[in-house]
Amino acid sequence: MTNRLDRLFAEKQDHILNVYFTAGYPSLEDTLPIVQALDAAGADLIEIGMPYSDPLADGPTIQESGMKAIQNGMSIPVLLEQIREIRKHSDIPLVLMGYFNPVMQYGEKRFFKDFAEAGVDGLILPDLPVYEYETLYQKAVEEAGLKMTFLITPQTEEARIRAIDELSTGFVYMVSNAAVTGGQGEISAQQTAYFERVAAMKLKRPRLIGFGISGHQSFETACRYANGAIIGSAFIRALSEGQDIRSTVISFVKNVREGAAAAAPSAK
């Protein structure tokens, strides 16, 4: 079976919308309905966050959703079961994103194998260093059929961007600015200069821009310079505030794709 990420990138090269949410948030059983709603709403790819007690690269929104999810009872074995259930209902590409310690405790190789078999397509493990990945885990990840994604930032040097492009088998995750997740401001000229610089490098892998992408405008800006973008904290904030999951998700995605005016026609 072809990997769903390969399938997606073969079919689509622009405006790829990757939505991140924390598994088990707002409540434990919401993982499946959120995936189904995102799929129905037209997200291209879903990044499921494995909650962690000490997420160093995340701002308060994702931290709090993770703490809540852990309290709700989310864990790696529970998530594995939920992914199996999701695959009975949806064929959307799925990437797992999380810190390495819980993966280690589950057993790295067992983790790669079990989640690949359950229907996960790729992994983002931001605190797993390149050297340790290459020497200890790359073979097992590839044998399991999973695609790997590494991050680059505005500070990453050109030679290292090239190396990360080589090593990434899914997409290259462009962190939009020097900050933890959760920013909401406009995209600055400095950021677009970085997006242009990387675009001009003609990398092998598709580029998705994440961190601080919060709505239609920033999504459109990111898509001018990359194959698509990743929205996380803004989606989690919407889930926290929304009443009904399905309608919240559908209007959120519509808003990102088309802008607020289209998503919420005024009352007049």
């Binding site: 160093l56 280690m104 405790q105 590494f150 930032t153 500070q155 990453t156």
Partner: protein, 395 residues
């Protein structure tokens, strides 16, 4: 030989498990730290500050009344007499000089007991650099005198409100600050924890403790090596400094004293060597307290400086390879030692340090042994705690 390999591993422990955002800063430190530290100019400045500003060498003091009580020869390495009252300043002097060499303009730090925060605020004042110290909201309450000292020194103390609101969370917040300020900021970590090169770098700066112990013991006993070195371990920096020049001396026992809180198996403890398993915390592969799912457990100790769910990778290696002997001391044992020992020697050490002293009650030794205890800090910051429990222990 006990030390790190080229990737910063002590045996299986160490490394740099960091998100890409930290890569440029960590790679720069990895590439530069040994060269900078070994420059003669750096060493001159470092040694001069240690002598004239910190007040080194710190005395090695034969505690006669204590020795008589325990029937063994006890020497106290008086890190409490350093400027700012603890060993922490050895490291902050070294790191601020390094930060200056790297052209950094802003300093951040985490602190538990506040001793490292004070030591960082102090060197920042000395060098005229802005300083932000992250401190758990719980620790801000229980170590109030040190919060005031940091403010006097011109530092901004930012409360960490996440998780258990103690040292682990303050460390998380400091790392997040560094991610948000990747160019001009240096992060002065306060212990032998964190991604490579921090554990080795901090150990080198603290190694002055055992360097002095060697010649001081030679002067006082005729032999440079004791039979045992005892130190408390939060992250493990005073222990790393006290062990450093004895790591490869097989005849010297290394005793690592951890905080058992309300009892090792009470569920409220920070005894990592007993309760810890292999994993990653703050960028380092080491032993840490975690659930079977890999979520970091919130530790407990009455002492804010030992209230950390991991230990540095050097200590994980020393314990896993049986080179060091771990001992766990409860809040009660440490407090009992506090009321007893203050009066025996006229010294009031920090609550952290009393854990090391309480180890004398449980460790094995011969009467002829020479035991050096690293007196990591003074107890002024803990007086409110000592007085609060005074009547329970002094009836």
């Amino acid at each position: 030989m006990i030390g790190i390999d080229e990737r910063g591993y002590y045996g299986e422990f160490g490394g740099a498990y960091i998100p890409e955002m930290l890569h440029p800063n960590i790679a720069e430190l990895q590439a530069e730290y040994v060269g900078i530290i070994n420059e003669p100019g750096f060493q001159r400045e470092f040694q001069k500050l240690l002598r004239d500003y910190v007040g080194r060498p710190s005395p090695l003091y034969l505690a006669e009344r204590l020795s008589e009580h325990y029937q063994v020869n006890i020497y106290l390495k008086r890190e409490d007499l350093n400027h700012t009252g603890a060993h922490k300043i050895n490291n902050t002097v070294g790191q601020i000089l390094l930060a200056k060499k790297l052209g950094k303009k802003r300093i951040i730090a985490e602190t538990g007991a506040g001793q490292h925060g004070v030591a960082t605020a102090t060197v920042c004042a000395l060098m005229g650099m802005p300083c932000v110290v992250y401190m758990g909201a719980v620790d801000i309450k229980r170590q109030a005198p040190n919060v005031s000292r940091m403010r006097m020194l011109g530092a901004e103390v930012r409360p960490a409100e996440s998780g258990s609101k103690t040292l682990k969370d303050a460390t998380n917040e400091a790392i997040r600050d560094w991610i948000n300020n990747p160019v001009d900021t240096h992060y002065i970590i306060g212990s032998v924890v964190g991604p490579h090169p921090y554990p080795d770098m901090v150990a080198r700066f603290q190694s002055v403790i055992s360097e002095e112990m060697k010649w001081q013991l030679e002067e006082q006993t005729g032999k440079p090596n004791p039979d045992a070195v005892v130190a408390c371990v939060g992250g493990g920096s005073n222990a790393a400094g006290a062990y450093y020049h004895y790591l490869n001396e097989k005849g010297v026992r290394l005793i690592a004293v951890e905080a058992a809180g309300k009892g090792v198996h009470s569920g409220e403890s920070a005894a990592t060597s007993v309760l810890g398993t292999r994993g990653i915390i703050h960028g380092s592969r080491t032993l840490l307290m975690q659930t079977k799912d890999g979520q970091i457990v919130e530790p407990y100790s009455l002492s804010a400086g030992l209230d950390y769910p991991g230990i540095g990778p050097m200590h994980a290696h020393l314990i896993a390879s049986k080179r060091a002997e771990p001992i766990s001391i409860t809040d009660e044992d440490a407090l009992r030692a506090a009321y007893f020992l203050s009066r025996k020697e006229g010294i009031i050490p920090a609550l952290e340090t009393f854990h090391a002293l309480a180890a004398l009650e449980v460790m094995a030794y011969q009467p002829s042994d020479v035991v050096v205890i690293c007196l990591s800090g003074r107890g002024d910051k803990d007086l409110a705690t000592f007085i609060q429990h005074f009547d329970d222990y002094n009836r």
